[in-house]
């Protein structure tokens, strides 16, 4: 392992232009094996957990449901169904606090403690399935991108015929500081991942398959390299730099090509899936099980015992905190996701969703508080921006409501990775300003 690490540091690692080097703070949980989070008494399953149209409830209050039973149906192509994370009774279908900041429709299930799988779910033999059947099963299983964005996986698995995919990239980068969920999964459940990799490779009919992993996970790189020996799958170590795991930056590092502005990876014949998504696809086909649980890193200086938990979708954050020994200290910030792109929460009464890769609890003293000052045009944000934008200029235009100017400086190309905000010595909320500008640009476009 040590030798592997040395080799990694000697090699000229692939990466992208720009980016930052925040302290990764993964030591809190990187060595902690995945633990099953105790089943809570009540689960709150939001109907909107993915990008696209929310699911529509298909169960009634009082109904008994099995674990894995569909409780919300997909509405439209870019949408996925949601499933009961455990067996029990539907006690409410109503608006509940949602991680997105408002109250949104959710199905509340009181667990009966049996945790009994739906008898309708059956494993399938992938050898007997056509690619279309696999995609349909993935859709039915509600699999979404597990890196955080939660984009329905079946959409990425069914590119239009004119867009032939030739490179399939699996994202094991996990560049967000603090988070170790993917890392632990690669170490502990590589079979699940590789089965998913094989399935995706079959569905998309690609020649080149790559797993990209940041070089700060030498054990995972060594393990997967060993397991992939003799297969067409190549494991590529990548330079430790944020946002190495952003889709476009990962493609640039691995394939050396840029996704065109406003386009999708499939436009240049590439598809990217998270390693956890691959594992979920494997579950969906080989076990017939829908996506009802995921690995979530509960970490940060304000939690007593940081852990990597296997959680049911719909578990309240308070339950996760309890499972990690409670709070070490009054938290100053509750972040769902990583510290660079995660969303702050008003409390622990919101459920974890399919996109919840981490719960980060910062103490009061960890919250960057120094007041915003004027921009001194130091250009750090320009150097850090992985999209080669001028964040300070876009931000300045956006907050003065000069929307067409912000658009001219290509605000819509921003991936909101937060690199600019991280480096800004004047503590200008650049990402927020650019987001504001992007929303205004899109609103203007809709109007026109």
């Amino acid at each position: 392992m040590c030798a592997a690490h040395d080799r990694l540091t000697e090699m000229k690692l692939k990466t992208f232009a720009g980016g930052i080097h925040p302290p990764d703070n993964k030591q809190w949980s990187a060595h902690k094996a995945i633990e099953d989070c105790p089943l809570p008494a009540e689960l709150i399953v939001p109907l909107a957990q993915h990008i696209g149209a929310p699911a529509v409830p298909c169960v009634a209050v009082g109904q008994q449901v099995f674990k894995g039973q569909e409780i919300g149906s997909a509405k439209g192509f870019v949408s996925v169904p949601v499933h009961a994370p455990t067996s029990g009774e539907v006690v409410a279908v109503e608006n509940r606090p949602h991680p997105w900041g408002t109250s949104l429709p959710a199905i509340v299930i009181r667990a009966d403690g049996e945790d009994c799988w739906s008898p309708e779910l059956e494993p399938a033999d992938p050898g007997e399935l056509s690619p279309e059947e696999i995609v349909e099963k993935v859709r039915q299983a509600g699999v979404v991108g597990m890196g955080g964005a939660a984009f329905p996986a079946h959409v990425k698995m069914s590119p239009p015929p004119e867009k032939q995919i030739h490179t399939l990239i699996f994202n094991g980068v996990e560049c967000e500081p603090y988070l170790t969920a993917d890392h632990r999964m690669m170490l502990e459940e590589p079979e699940r991942i590789l089965q998913g990799v094989a399935l995706l490779q079959f569905v998309l009919g690609v020649e080149r398959v790559v797993i990209g992993i940041e070089a700060n996970k030498p054990d995972a790189i060594a393990l997967l390299t060993e397991m992939c020996a003799g297969t067409p799958v190549e494991v590529i170590p990548l330079e430790v730099k944020y946002p190495q795991g952003a889709e476009k930056q990962l493609i640039a590092a691995v394939a050396g090509r840029e996704v065109p502005s406003g386009g999708l990876p499939m436009d240049i014949g590439v598809a990217v899936h998270n390693v956890s998504t691959a594992a979920a696809i494997s579950d969906a086909i080989l076990d017939g099980r829908p996506l009802i649980e995921r690995i979530c890193t509960v970490t940060g200086p304000a939690i007593r015992e940081p852990k990597n938990l296997r959680i049911r979708i719909g578990t309240l954050l308070s339950h996760l905190v309890d499972a990690c020994g409670g709070l070490a200290e009054e938290p100053g910030k509750i972040v769902l996701g990583g510290p660079m792109m995660g969303f702050t929460q008003l409390g622990f009464d919101v459920p974890a969703t399919r996109g919840t890769s981490g719960l980060l609890l910062l103490r009061h003293e960890d919250v960057p508080l120094h007041p915003e000052g004027p921009c001194i045009r130091c250009a750090r944000c320009v150097q850090a921006c992985p999209m080669n934008l001028l964040p300070t200029t876009i931000g300045a235009y956006a907050r003065r409501d000069l929307i067409s100017e912000a658009a001219e400086y290509r605000a819509l190309d921003c991936i909101e990775c937060g690199s600019c905000g991280y480096v800004c010595p004047a503590a200008i909320p650049l990402v927020q300003a650019i987001r504001y500008g992007k929303a205004a640009i899109l609103a203007k476009k809709r109007k026109a």
Binding site: P374, A396, Y397, R400, L402
Partner: protein, 193 residues
């Protein structure tokens, strides 16, 4: 050849019409809020200046001097230049309504623009030949455009600055113009023009 180059460089940098001779301040302040407009204005001025030089040169040497009525120079030049600008205005309005809108009321301003008239008069004063005169005109116009575009860039940037209330608008524009002129003084003595 060297003479022409000296005339050109001198007119653009050393004796910049706006920043060293302080001619044409009105459009300099008026049409410098946006770089695009400034460029359009610069082109309009370049065109007017060149044509005005040609025409006034002929008027001077083929009308005024032969008839011995040099004392009518100013009136004759104004007459010629004013009609010219009218012409340009009509053409632009027809050909490029967008440019016309952004130049707005400033096109007619070139009519009585001291830069254009000053150029024509200077040309005669300096005893330039026809070719020298044209080069001088182009240099002056380029210098005007350069100053205008630089200034427009600065003003666009000022839009994003927290300029104190009492200095907003013309006040800060004038301060900036002063500083720009100060910087241009570095060219002093660069060529004897």
């Amino acid at each position: 050849m060297t003479d022409l180059l000296v005339i050109l460089v001198s007119a653009i940098f050393v004796n910049n019409f706006v920043l060293a001779r302080f001619l044409g301040i009105c459009p300099f302040l008026g049409v410098s809020k946006k770089v695009e407009t400034a460029l359009g204005m610069g082109m309009a001025v370049t065109f007017v200046m060149t044509v005005a030089t040609v025409v006034t040169w002929f008027v001077q040497y083929f009308v005024l001097i032969p008839f011995g009525i040099e004392y009518l120079q100013t009136i004759a030049f104004i007459l010629v230049i004013a009609s010219l600008v009218q012409l340009v205005e009509m053409v632009i309005q027809k050909v490029s309504p967008v440019l016309y809108q952004s130049l707005g009321i400033f096109l007619p301003l070139i009519t009585t623009n001291c830069a254009v008239l000053g150029l024509a008069v200077l040309n005669i004063q300096k005893d330039y030949s026809f070719l020298e005169g044209v080069v001088f005109a182009i240099g002056a116009a380029l210098g005007f455009t350069l100053a205008l575009v630089l200034f427009a860039g600065l003003r666009e940037r000022l839009e994003l600055c927290a300029v104190p209330q009492s200095f907003r608008g013309t006040a800060i524009a004038l301060v900036t113009a002063g500083l720009l002129s100060l910087a241009f003084m570095g060219f002093a003595g660069l060529v004897k023009g």
